[in-house]
Amino acid sequence: MRELSYAQAIHEGLAQAMEADPRVFIMGEDIGVYGGAFGVTGDLVERFGADRVIDTPISELGGAGVAVGAALAGSRPILEFQFSDFMTLAMEQIVNQAAKIRFMFGGKTSVPVVFRAPTGSGTGAAGQHSQSLEAWFAHVPGLKVVQPSTPADAKGLLLSAIDDPDPVIIFEHKLLYKMKGDVPEAPERTPIGKAVVRRTGKDVTVVATAIMVHRSLEAAELLAAEGIDCEVIDLRTLRPLDTATIIESVKKTTRLACVYEGVKTLGIGTEISAMIAESEAFDYLDAPIMRLGGMETPIPYNPQLEKSAVPQADTIAEGLRKLVRGSF
């Protein structure tokens, strides 16, 4: 299979969806001739024209509402937020309108909109450009929330999101855009709502998201040398959760660590922890449930501070070691 970068995989998914369905269009800030702040849309404006690849004014709330309205009126909009931080301006339309319209209207319509949002820290852009706010959206009934960690899933989840009759939010990790990986040329879908085991192991279940999947796998390699065998699950979908895959794994390994970049308190791993603590897997637990999340601070600018504010492979390894060795 060919290799594509995560950004190229999304680009290919967008192009295939637009080719397959004339209702699909994309909008966002600087996605036209600029090609997107992270280069994702690239040449799409040349291929599909400015009517389907629409540069918006800097109007996040309005942009989100326009997408909702277009979706209600039979189009299939994909809105790119330039940074997920700017979704703070659009919460009203995402949460009060897109998420609730179907239910509030008695199930008589749907809002097939896709929101894409580059997310996460590690780019030296400081507090207002580095947040990981995905847990907010995972708290909102009516939304589906996905977070791909590989190029193939970046494409596959995008295509599923575009197919989906309801609003789907895709959090793309900025540090993964350049990551390469096998991507099927065909428009293969990654199902929404399905986690995947990226590494099997017997000592501890690590449930991770986005870039933390890779850091957890790295940590697992480090620990393998020490005789600790980690199972690493890539959550992929944050809402709805694939509880079955996680419960099954925890029952096997008897230990759970949740690794995520969002602020630890109420970050997505918090839900995984609580879900397990109330599940049938609870009785299998041989150790407390560990959460390794972002520090309780805004993301700092200084690169050393920035790194220290979110889990890294070594701090993950350290945490897992403690968890498995019982010195937790």
Binding site: G62, V66, M104, T109
Partner: protein, 342 residues
């Protein structure tokens, strides 16, 4: 506006020429239905038979119908928390609205939405909205879809004077103008956003002035004259369909009832309310129809009687409606996906 003198047969304003007798009678009927719907809703509330909040549009029937009577089902509206009138104007039936108001399965939203969320996709009503200004970008987006799909339709966006100070107003009007979208922004300036007068909330006297900030036409009309409203709408719609983009139509009007069920009206005077009651848009319209010889007094009375009857029947229908069975409403949040597992 052109002075009317029907008896002399000359200088009749365009509204009375353009629309047929049936259309004009239907407009009067809808205004009556709105008025009586609101009165019925209030009565249900006073008698303790309804639940939740409601925002009545008594006094604003001319803008609701004047801005919708020329629309087809394939045209869209977005409405507001004070949305019963828009909904009826766009063709909804009172009985399903009452059913919604009473939280019944027969309601437009199966009792899930209530007064503030009535929507009716079949008549192109993209919904009332609990969020002030929430409909502004939605209407803009619907207009974008119309344009993309090369349809000969428009989107009409209702909003209040209070909503005109939301950021969503600015972002929406700007985008609509930049992209020349077929959307008409209809501001129902009833002079108060809840308790705050437009004078205290808004830096300009006429909200239509703000149209210039988006390089679009902005007109002020007498919102209590259906003819004024409809003529301005006709012009704006024609412009939209010519591909020239959006317009802003400001209807100066007044709500003679309180903001919502719990309003003590401490922010305005009794005199002011009484004065506006004298400018009731419904008898004014009926009188013009009679004066122009379009309807007879008897025909007006027929409309009155028929609407009273329709509302009574609608309330009865709603009261006999089905209470939702609350098994598994969580399954209603998402659209079923064919072939997907539950």
């Amino acid at each position: 506006m052109v002075k009317t003198d029907a008896r002399a047969g000359k200088n009749v304003r365009p509204f009375y020429v353009k629309y047929s007798k049936d259309e004009l009678r239907e407009a009067l009927r809808r205004m009556q239905i709105i008025r009586k719907f609101e009165e019925g809703a209030e009565d249900l509330y006073v008698r303790g038979l309804s639940y939740g909040t409601m925002h009545l549009s008594v006094g604003q029937e001319a803008s609701a119908v004047g801005a919708t009577m020329m629309l087809k089902n394939s045209d869209y509206i977005t409405s507001t928390h004070r949305g019963h009138g828009h909904c009826i104007g766009k063709g909804a039936e009172a009985k399903y609205m009452f059913a919604e108001f009473l939280g019944k399965e027969e309601g437009y939203c199966r009792g899930r939405g209530g007064s503030m969320h009535i929507a009716d996709m079949a008549t192109g009503n993209l919904g009332a909205n609990g969020i002030v200004g929430g409909g502004l970008p939605i209407a803009t987006g619907a207009a974008m879809a119309i344009k993309q799909q090369k349809r000969d339709d428009v989107a009409v966006c209702f909003f209040g004077d209070g909503a005109n100070n939301e950021g969503a107003f600015h972002e929406s009007l700007n985008m609509a103008a930049v992209w020349k979208l077929p959307v008409i922004f209809v501001c129902e300036n009833n002079q108060y956003g809840m308790s705050v007068s437009a004078e205290r909330s808004t830096a300009v006297k006429d909200i239509a002035t703000r149209a210039a900030a988006y390089n679009m036409p902005g007109v002020v009309v007498d919102g209590n004259s259906i003819a004024d409203v409809a003529e301005a709408m006709d012009e704006a719609i024609a412009r939209a369909k010519r591909g020239e983009g959006p317009s802003l139509v400001e209807c100066k009007t007044y709500r003679t009832k309180g903001h919502s069920r719990s309003d003590r009206n401490r922010y305005r005077s009794k005199d002011e309310i009484e004065e506006w009651k004298l400018r009731d848009p419904i008898p004014a319209f009926a009188a013009e129809l009679v004066a122009h010889g379009i309807l007879s007094e008897a025909e007006v009375a027929d409309v009155d009687a028929a609407t009273t009857q329709e509302i009574a029947a609608a309330i009865e229908f709603a009261q006999n409606g089905t209470d939702p069975t609350h098994i598994d409403i969580a399954s209603e949040v998402h659209t079923p996906i064919l072939g997907a597992m539950a």
